[in-house]
Symmetry: D2
Subunit: 352 residues, 4 copies
């Protein structure tokens, strides 16, 4: 239990209250297992409507790592690897879950957590067009996160450019949407929820980090699911016996636009937070338009802040300072932001 | 949504109401992720106390298949397979999840879903003592389910005999406890919750089928967890970011003995159900002492029953009749059993 | 080094002398690596001509187990397993090599080492036509050995029946031909080398057990190779840098029909051997038409024979006697058979 | 078949003639299979003597990729990856064979193909000593090639420094010796064959590229083989049925020091070749002390040289020139080097 106000991450609290209410309302309804329940059906229908694709194939899995590894292992051919930027979540923080499925993560340089269409194009061209690479792992899919692990976003044109490169080489594009809501509601973003179906071959709406207790909604636009994906979900241990657990949650999140409302509230408060940090002279590591803000602190500032609030240590800088992360979520209130401002006012920038 | 009363399985409804109450009570408490929350800590302490092993290593995973494959893949050496009876869940109904980890399920004959110590001993003796088997898969673990997939149970002496064989050959015994509670409260059973720590090297308390929305509590008695099991859970996609989700559920299930109370109530009603089926002349496929009852029905009886209740088709018999399963759970009420009796009274045995 | 005449197996000696001669003749010819050498090209051309399929895709791998696991892992889809009889080599004696690739070996009962079309059909029908099996491993390929691990053979009609069942369910048939030559030259066999291309989707001509030092020639009839099979061979560690090693061997074996001549000679002597065993009253375990003969011996007979010759212990019988294997190869001479007859004459049947 | 003199690689010709002679001399000797033959025993004894380690465990496998993946998969724990420099063979040119076994190749920067002890130390320190990395792949082994993929070598002190870092973190060091001979006989090298046993936990003597037709001799010093490594070799498809094939070859290569004599001859001619290239004004990409020489050519020079000899294209340079490889082997003669000099004399440096 946190004794100080925590801005460590967007999964510190439980679930959006409406989800818990729905658990109670529906608790005694008897349903078939494994996702064949009414709630899952209803959730899928609402997601199809929200994204504007009546033909989308939709599956509910439990968490991000298992979703990534199940999708990647199922869609890659046996001689393929998945292309990601060096900071991609699958390349670093999933304990080798992709390699465990037998496939290499092929990394290319990124910037601020983002893949660049031209870098991807150069990479694929070198592989497929220049000489013979039959002793190497084939690039069989491109993976990007939206927003990225650094809270940054792509413009619609940027993803379209990446997708266009992928189509030139006939490989699918997979968008890891563990924080999809925050990307869709990002400051200055231009991708809407109905754009997604045309931007990639598969993406998911992350639940865990956008108001649910668990669960990710995987979407294959236009009947695009691989054969027997249900069985693959089972084989990868990602199938809930009580399919109602993700079903009810996503049904709630996609009722009256709750998913995007949660995201919008969190982003709004993160932008305020960014403004406050700047106002008190704290430099940003990156100008993030989403619910994660990356601030540069001196050791002295870290100590002073730690008396009042909790945050995530992100990475050390060569000059001895540290990048830290402050995140907002559905549970962050205006009062929390005011409290943070009071703290900053009190301690001042205290430069080292 | 089921429109008729369903006895299909023990995961038809949501969660035990006390769990949902606790979700609401704790919802705004901020916690670290990945199982380092207060609730998980508390749940572990309560489980350690319940089983009488202060040194047990405990981990919470999401579901049965991922729990089985993570444990098996982690504990086997690379030249090993896992020994199970031919009807074992891992051998049949997990879409090849164990093989996906690179290991063979070595099957031996069972009876009523149970492994026999002597059969196991003969198998291991033939492998390890008689000649050279370096071109074959080594038996590296024994796997049993308690209760079994057929609702049957082992006596304490039976598991001790199996465990003794395992120790003779220095291989661990793993007890799949997806329905552990029902085994511990089975009619005529003699295994208590404090016995478990001495009967095997690893077991789990299934939550999904005993009142939780999801979650399995894996127990390695006496500091027995393999090195870096946490990382293996992550690698296998079985780690919840919101560790509070299983944490709160198991904390609730192990408060005031709720887990065993749920199991006892379900078993009691299943035994009543068995008595009623017998009373009206319906033959049992097996004399199950747990919450799953296996009844033999003619086509005519199936049709008649299906007008009032739902049940699970289990397997066809050579004589044209069908084995079906009726299950009880925390949600089954005395009224449900009375209703079933009324139905049977109305339709009679109607033998074919 | 064997000090007594050995009939243990068909890989006791080195290579057919013509192969060694060719090694010497070609030794200083410089070639590209990895199978792009002249000898491999020539060998492929000769195999295409021998089987009557100018469009066959052909690859050379090193040994049986790696050939089996590479083919199976490449051709199965991720939710698939491979169907084999319980005595199939991949199911028993390959140290879990198929499971290591993540796929289950689905076993069905066989007879004398053979798969039966009807048993296969029943199995596939139960899986694909009767109810939903989405929690189970899909049968994605059928695997048979020709000849079988027991030296028995299929008639053309029998394999056609199996193949027809496979086509009904759109799964490929794979024929393990580690001893293909002996099958094609079997006593009473009716399958010719030009039949193979129409009987399955992939097969191989085993070299190791038919006169080569190593190497198996995998044939996908009619341009049937999976995409990038070359890369899969590399990934599975089955690609020789000196591709000339299998290339020269298969070029030699398929020059002037040497492969089939070797097989014919070995089979002829094995049939003689069978006749001699019978003549001296030794019961056969099976009436094998190929180069492996399975004889039933008492302990006394085993001891007596072991003073003169070596043979392979196959399996104990319930009555205390033992099945042993006597094998012939390219290196077995008429004098060896005469010697064996002299031994039998000397020791007599000595019934226990 | 190469119509021009080829310097493309060190596996262009067959085998050292003494090996072929031995094949013929031993061809009719009957042996048990799978490495239990006299020749393998003798080869192991000679290798043990050559390296000065009577307790070394030795296994013969078929080729480099399968040797690398079998060793790595067997020695890593399930949460581990293997650390290599970015240009390491396993990281680039083995078609994902390591990832196929479920393990990540963790790359660190190298220089001229070499790993640096300090870079490794920094990497391991950051992982093991600084903070918690339970969501990441553990570094479980270090992998280096001797000589490297660029023909460069380590000094004894350099490998000792790397080994010392490995021991500090209790991870094994694996030396890929696909071209081990050339490293041991490298110009200016100070590692002798008896040093190897103290420098790492496992290494191999590559046969394929040092005069054999195929085969790698894996050495675990001081009884260091992992349990049941034989079975792992089988599982990975790397076990020859005719174990005599590698056995005879390594027995020959380790008789009268042939292995090192082959390497010395090839290195001597490569150094001459380097001297000649320099003499005619061709810049070196790297000053390689082994049998592979890397020369920088303009397009014009490439065209001119290609009229007379064959070489390997290595990689393009940013300035438009190309790095090419010229390799020597047991089959390279003094006349071949003279021929190359004549060619260079004729065409001159022709700078672009």
């Amino acid at each position: 239990m946190e004794t100080k106000k925590s801005f460590v991450c967007d999964y510190s609290e439980g679930a959006h209250p409406r989800i818990l209410e729905r658990f109670i309302e529906t608790n005694m309804v008897q349903c078939p297992g494994y996702g064949f329940d009414t709630f899952s059906d209803s959730a899928k229908a609402k997601i199809r409507e929200a994204i504007g694709d009546p033909d989308a194939d939709i599956f509910f899995l439990g968490g991000g790592t298992q979703t990534n590894s199940t999708i990647i292992a199922t869609m890659l051919k046996p001689f393929d690897g998945v292309v990601a930027v060096q900071t991609g979540h699958i390349a670093v923080h999933e304990a080798g879950a992709v390699e465990y499925t037998g496939h290499k993560v092929l990394t290319i340089p990124g910037k601020d957590g983002k893949m660049d269409a031209e870098t991807l194009s150069t990479y694929l061209e070198a592989f497929f067009d220049d000489g013979n690479h039959d002793h190497m792992v084939f690039p069989g899919m491109a993976y990007i996160s939206f927003p990225t692990e650094y809270g940054t976003i792509y413009s619609k044109a940027e993803i379209e450019a990446i997708h266009s490169v992928c189509r030139d080489y006939s490989i699918p594009l997979f968008i890891d949407g563990a924080r999809m809501g925050y990307g869709l509601k990002a400051e200055g973003g231009d991708i809407t929820i109905t754009d997604l179906k045309g931007l990639c071959e598969v993406f998911y709406f992350g639940g865990t980090k956008v108001g649910a207790l668990c669960g990710e909604a995987v979407v294959f636009p236009h009947h695009g699911a691989p054969n027997h994906f249900f069985t693959m979900v089972k084989q990868h241990g990602a199938l809930f016996a009580k399919g109602r657990l993700p079903g009810i949650q996503f049904d709630t999140l996609f009722t009256d636009g709750l998913y995007l409302k949660i995201a919008e509230g969190a982003v709004k408060r993160a932008i305020l937070m960014k403004w406050i940090f700047r106002k008190y002279g704290y430099p940003l590591h990156m100008d993030s338009p989403t619910n994660q803000q990356f601030i540069i602190l001196t050791d002295e500032q870290m100590a002073a802040l730690s008396e009042y609030v909790k945050y995530e240590i992100w990475e050390p800088l060569p000059d001895g300072r540290t990048v830290v992360r402050f995140a907002t979520s559905w549970a962050t209130t205006d009062a929390d932001i005011d409290f943070l401002e009071d703290v900053l006012k009190k301690i001042g920038p205290r430069e080292g």
